[in-house]
Symmetry: C2
Subunit: 446 residues, 2 copies
């Protein structure tokens, strides 16, 4: 019997916990779910005979030691900042660890120690990062096996709303952390295009767009992610002339969001004066030149350089930003205020279902012919619990846990799911679970 | 006999040291100049019979204790970051301290302890901060004494180049720390206009301009400084509807500098890939969209939205940014590269003289009439040693030191030169030394 300890029983852990409990009898697993809220952990296992729910506080050294020492595999669904604690404890007690979070420099620093103990800490096993790595590597390895030379790799992902629940002018609702959406893209975006490095500052990010088409779902627009260049090393594409990763939104989103970026509404670095007394209207006014005779709507349109009657102004108006209502946040930064405004308007209702879209575009040369492969995945959430996010994060993590428990992964150290013997079985099973990539290949002409 | 210990003998300390040594016999002062470079300290006192030069390292606890304990007044010309060390040592040994640097939160924290020991730590005694405080407070106090109610306070300052040395298309040369010029304005600028708070993000800063006229010197443009709002408290202007501080440049500077801001060339937060191999041309290209058929000059003009043949393009071209020469900086940020480019082009030659310009604009209501006072100061450097910067920083600090040594300042604690009994004698003497404000008053019509 293998013991599996899942830390964190939040919304994004639902699908993972279900999978492991559903298969626990068949594979002889002893599954424990620990959460800071005991009732949340209990609720997640309530439909099953098997499984154990406990209150677990990662910051309590005693229970951290006792629970982790008493298992075989730890699956951590905690926020990224808490992973070093989990990792150190797993290393101390000689336990394998899996997580959907990004590998940090701190984690990379213990690679030798993890290897020395014969352990595997397998990370970035969700959807983005996770499925993006695996599905891209499958195509990249395939092209290399055919003797193809990669010229361009572009990879796009978006957490959006399913078409039949897509009923607001922004064509966007929160399917993930709202704060991260407000702050998205701050800093500089870096990528490479036709051999030329390109750096895009935040205030140009949402006007630096690509348009992509996804079969059955129509058009999307894409803005560049922060660091596309790190994927050169990660994916073995050191010399590739073009590499770009980006975030997908429905057309028109970025041009309207860019207004907030231009105004400075997403700044999280300072507290606004008298924020508790501000109305939504005054919030916007704070970023506009003073005018004694123009309305705020007119000021805004003129300042940004858009028509006074336009879809962009409609979108901003729909968010309630021209209302004279009080915002009611004390000592708030612009970003905090934006978050409150957006949570009011962009939250999913219980009947809403989310949508996960991913597309990779590869251009390569084979036998002196340029070819293009486009590989796309779409997945719609089933309901407000079995969201596309929870499903596409939970399944790959659950499958990896199963493979590790079965002794089918022999890699050791700090790892990502980039090797064929890891990504192949995971992608195959994901396909059987409805998470599949459609691949199209064609000759490429500029 | 009063002992005065000047720490730091760099360029900006020259005028200060000269003043104190010139007056040391008359006032019976024992002046010591300490610098990390003994020869630099020696050079600064070489023209005088009196005075002592020593090698002094602020990071050496022994000499720090022995030199500071052995004086009456410490004048610190060290960079701002080193002031806490000086302040702690002065506090420990019960010595007064003067400096041209900004008061930090750390310094404010020891106010009670400084008072308890009967000491004065008088800061912000240079030109900006320094003369700006004193000259503004003189007018503000004057308006209040007349029963006037302040409606608007705008204050502008610039370190520029004297008209007859103003021979480049930017009409700018470095008279102060180049790195600070490259990074100027990053973050958000805050001010108040007609009762409305205004926040200007960095990427709009250099297009948010005022135009001002200074008698004898013509037109200048002004971009807002980071935090104008702090001056409400500082100057007792809590309810003033309009308050703005800004930096002066010659017309046309900001529109061209804004190109670098728009492109992201002043970002200091990341290292550019292969920076040691970059040419100036490639540096600019890194911030532009890839184009197979347009020149970099064309790309730039189109991207920024300016004519391909324009003064802005000429200014950028004059800096050498379109040259195919190698930059030759390893692991450099964009800001570091910009600094190197600018130091090549904007450094003062030995024959160049700098120019310090300051202007305060006050609007106030008195007896139901709106009035305006404009108070302006210009000062041209004499040569490359007696620069306007060194003179306008050194004289107020030297005069304050004299007043303190004579027992004419009875304030204690952490102070700024905002009180009448401090600023009046300093401004009066500055006037006799050629640093004078010209005040014009008129009725104000919108």
């Amino acid at each position: 019997m293998k013991k599996i300890f899942i830390i964190g029983a939040g919304l994004s852990a639902t699908v993972l916990i279900d999978y492991l409990l559903e298969h626990s009898v068949e594979y002889d697993w002893d599954v424990t779910v620990g959460d800071i809220s005991l009732s949340q952990a209990q609720e997640k296992i309530s439909a099953y005979q098997q499984g154990r729910a406990i209150k677990f506080d990662i910051f309590d050294p005693e229970s951290r030691a006792s629970e982790i020492s008493n298992t075989d595999i730890v699956v951590s669904m905690l926020p990224g900042a808490m992973h070093p604690l989990v990792a150190q404890e797993c290393l101390r007690h000689g336990k394998h660890m899996l997580s959907p979070s990004y590998v940090t420099a701190e984690l990379r620093g213990i690679d030798a120690a993890v290897r020395a103990k014969g352990l595997l800490f397998l990370n970035e096993l969700g959807v983005d990062p996770g499925i993006d790595h695996m599905s891209a590597m499958r195509v990249i390895d395939g092209i290399k096996k055919r003797g193809g030379k990669l010229l361009s790799f572009k990879s796009f992902c978006g957490g959006l709303v399913a078409p039949d629940c897509d009923d607001n002018p922004w064509k966007y609702k929160f399917s993930w952390n709202p704060r991260n959406v407000v702050l998205a893209g701050q800093g500089v975006a870096r990528y490479r295009e036709s051999g030329q490095y390109r750096y895009v500052p935040y205030h140009h990010l949402f006007s630096t767009l690509e348009t992509v088409e996804v079969a059955g779902y129509g058009e999307f627009e894409v803005y560049p992610n922060r660091d596309s260049l790190q994927y050169c090393d990660l994916y073995g594409l050191e010399d590739i002339p073009t590499i770009l990763r980006g975030t997908m939104r429905r057309p028109g989103f970025s041009a309207a969001w860019d207004v907030f970026v231009q105004l400075g509404c997403t700044d999280d670095s300072y507290i606004m004066e008298n924020s508790h007394r501000l109305t939504y209207r005054q919030f916007i006014q704070s970023f506009l030149p003073y005018s004694a005779d123009k309305s705020i709507e007119e000021c805004l349109a003129d300042y940004i350089g858009i028509p006074r009657h336009s879809e962009i102004i409609d979108k901003i108006s729909w968010l309630g930003l021209f209302s004279a209502e009080n915002i009611g946040l004390e000592n708030a930064t612009p970003a905090t205020i934006m978050q409150k405004i957006l949570v009011n308007k962009w939250s999913m209702s219980v009947d809403d279902r989310d949508l996960l879209v991913m597309q990779h575009q590869f251009i390569f040369e084979q036998d002196a012919v340029k070819k293009k492969i486009v590989s796309s995945m779409t997945y719609e959430g089933v309901d407000s619990v079995h969201t596309a996010m929870a499903t596409t994060v939970g399944f790959p993590l659950a499958i990896a846990t199963k493979l590790l428990a079965m002794g089918k992964i022999d890699a050791r150290g700090i790892q990502l799911p980039l090797a064929e013997n890891i990504y192949e079985p995971i992608l195959d099973e994901l396909e059987s679970l409805g998470i599949r990539f459609i691949e199209e290949e064609c000759q490429y002409r500029i």
